[in-house]
Symmetry: C2
Subunit: 410 residues, 2 copies
């Protein structure tokens, strides 16, 4: 097993820098020391959030079509196609009030969802080959006779309609309950589809068994077939989709832009949220190995915080930030953020900005705190801008525009 260093650095929740200080002090050793942007006094890390769509009911996931339109899921079961407002068009109306509202098209033929608690319509992604195949993929909590399960659907998106809607995966078991469905979807350059699956809270002990889909990351093909070279494909009793196990409730996933590795974060209980680099066939420990503690009682969970056969997180949070959504920043629009990782936080109502150095997290800042919003998703769009969703029944999608230099007094 390859050892990895773990970092656990704590900073204040807001970025604070003097008027002449660099935007991100911790980037002193990186290429991007000389920020082109001045710090915002609001602690938004050089980002100016501009509402590009409002009127969203518990939005959960953003995806972009090649034409620049966005797809957004709403947890109660709606998929919307959005025409977004322009960039910086209205200098008077920056922030909420500019560009939002218009251009929402509700997509027809979305599968039925178990819209209860944390369940509902969850992730949406667009096929890397959308211009040819018109495919999108959705994860959702699916109602069954017995309870609910996380399922993955594929469909062709034509205008305002889904066609050829097809379930390509469903969890084997379907307990009652409304907690810990996961789920995020990622397609890698080889065309494999990864999905993160929660352990449904009351089934947590099963996250260590390969005989079920609780607390697993799976790898399938986009038609639902299972690759023969999956790590447990030939192991008796194991489910062949399983790629890694011992997860709790993973709600953020992204490919590393340089290495192509899959990075996933997951919610811990009271403390113990984790950022993990996912390796084939590995055990990520829950609920035996964790930095978290039981809710309310604060009791220790499992055996401890490390074990030889269990992967250590790259980074973890105590107390919890309740992470949701994440993206590596590659866009040249954000020279200070580029190469680093943004993670949405529901609980802390900010973005966690993780300074990456190779495969390590060497620093953490909390930015976008001035929005005071629970962040459900954060993505980089094909236009090079960062976008985020707020978790609310009056949710909005914001574009995180780089703040112009020397405008803080304006």
């Amino acid at each position: 097993m390859k050892a990895r260093r773990r970092t656990f650095l704590r900073f204040g929740c807001s970025l604070t820098a003097g008027a002449t200080g660099s935007l991100l002090p911790f980037l002193g050793n990186a290429q991007s020391t000389q920020s082109q942007f001045a710090p915002l006094p609001t602690g938004d890390g050089g980002l100016r959030p501009r509402v590009v769509m409002d009127g969203l009911l518990s939005p959960w996931s953003i995806a972009f079509l090649p034409n620049g339109e966005a797809l957004v899921t709403e947890r109660p079961g709606t998929l919307k196609r959005l025409q977004l407002g322009g960039v910086g068009a209205d200098q008077q109306g920056r922030g909420k009030g500019s560009g939002q509202g218009s251009g929402q098209i509700k997509i027809q033929n979305v599968p039925r969802v178990h819209a209860s608690g944390q369940g509902g319509l969850l992730d949406v992604i667009v096929s890397p080959d959308f211009e040819r195949d018109e495919l999108i993929f959705m994860s959702l909590a699916q109602p069954t006779d017995g309870g609910a399960r996380t399922a993955i659907f594929r469909a062709r998106l034509r205008g305002a309609e889904l066609q050829q809607v097809e379930m390509i995966f469903a969890q084997k078991d379907d307990p009652k309950g409304q907690l810990h469905f996961g789920s995020r979807l990622v397609i890698d350059p080889d065309g494999f589809l990864f999905a993160t699956l929660g352990e449904r809270f009351f089934e947590r002990s099963k996250a260590q068994s390969l005989e079920n889909h609780f607390g697993k990351i799976i790898r399938i093909r986009t038609d639902g077939s299972i690759p023969k070279n999956n790590p447990f494909a030939n192991q008796s009793g194991a489910l062949r989709e399983v790629w890694s196990f011992g997860h709790r409730n993973p709600q953020g996933a992204a490919l590393h832009p340089r290495t192509g590795d899959l990075w996933v974060h997951e919610h811990g209980p009271q403390g113990g949220d984790e950022l993990n680099l996912i390796r084939e066939g590995r055990n990520y420990g829950w609920p035996q190995i964790t930095y978290g503690r039981e809710y309310v009682t604060g009791f220790k969970i499992g055996e401890g915080t490390s074990r030889a056969d269990v992967e250590q997180p790259v980074h973890y949070w105590v107390p919890s930030i309740a992470p949701s959504g994440m993206t590596f920043v590659t866009s040249e629009r954000y020279s200070a953020l580029r190469g680093h990782l943004l993670v949405g936080s529901l609980k802390e109502r900010c973005l966690a900005l993780l300074e990456m150095k190779e495969n390590q997290v060497v620093g953490e800042q909390r930015i976008l705190s001035s929005m005071k919003s629970r962040i459900r998703d954060v993505r980089q769009g094909p236009d090079g801008y960062l976008y985020a969703l707020t978790d609310s029944d009056e949710g909005v999608m914001v574009r995180l525009e780089p703040a112009p230099r020397n405008r803080e007094a304006g």
Copy 2:
């Protein structure tokens, strides 16, 4: 089904009465309106706590021997026999510092316990016929190969030793984990032994099934045999010990001094602690019918707060007080409290005093708040005094002496 009225009255946590006010204003209609005790300015409800034993490690339960000695369980697995200090002997040293410390005898041959989290050595009671049979009964979390289960033991107490130690009941299943073992024991005048069993948290859905011992109150004989007239004794698939079901984590039980009915309270989740009058064969609802909500998320649990086939609580608490231990006050030493019910509170660090009128709770006060202690048990001793245990690794046993009248200025 007999309808019962539910009360839900909220008061402040401390009893406050003017200098000339009655001790318990809500008792205006009761016999005991004219209190013989003046109110304490500390909000202790006319009770002066005096430490009669300190140095207790997470004490859980008090029982009294006919000779006035007390038995106390310590959750890590120790049973102690205590010679208590005298009453009001040292007027200078009232409160902590008086009478405590000496006279602790550790009892030998206590069964092995799963001393983890909420598990360990739990309740202890003394046979009603102790002078003849020398029997005591203990409930505990018992370690097994697979995990742990709540078990009940009977033994003869001779001096500092248990003899003929015998397991008379064990839960059928033994999941891993350290939460919600229950348990309190009560022997009724007919010699039946009732035990309250928790649903082990992660097994909560099983509290509605009669095929297991999770979230049940059972009735057995003191030799472990099962009465043939138990409500489900002839029902196929049901466990014959079951007396009532749909409980969560009941940690207080007492017989009503006049009616002989069994009263039990149980911990709810986030809100929804319940006080129940236990009727043979009835469903108490968990986790389908509850006034509680999920931890952290605040989501609704189950179907709602009432259903025709489910018993309503006599009283419930939102937010939770985390009740532990309880006793009906019958002693003439406490004229204002007599006929009412005292419930220990871990979370609120006080006693909840419930004003009873027939089988209804018509008022609630919080008393003993000045101790600022998590209360694990409260009992009335054969000497007519009330006693309580504090939940701490430096726990104490206190005698709640009636405060002398007109002493508040002294």
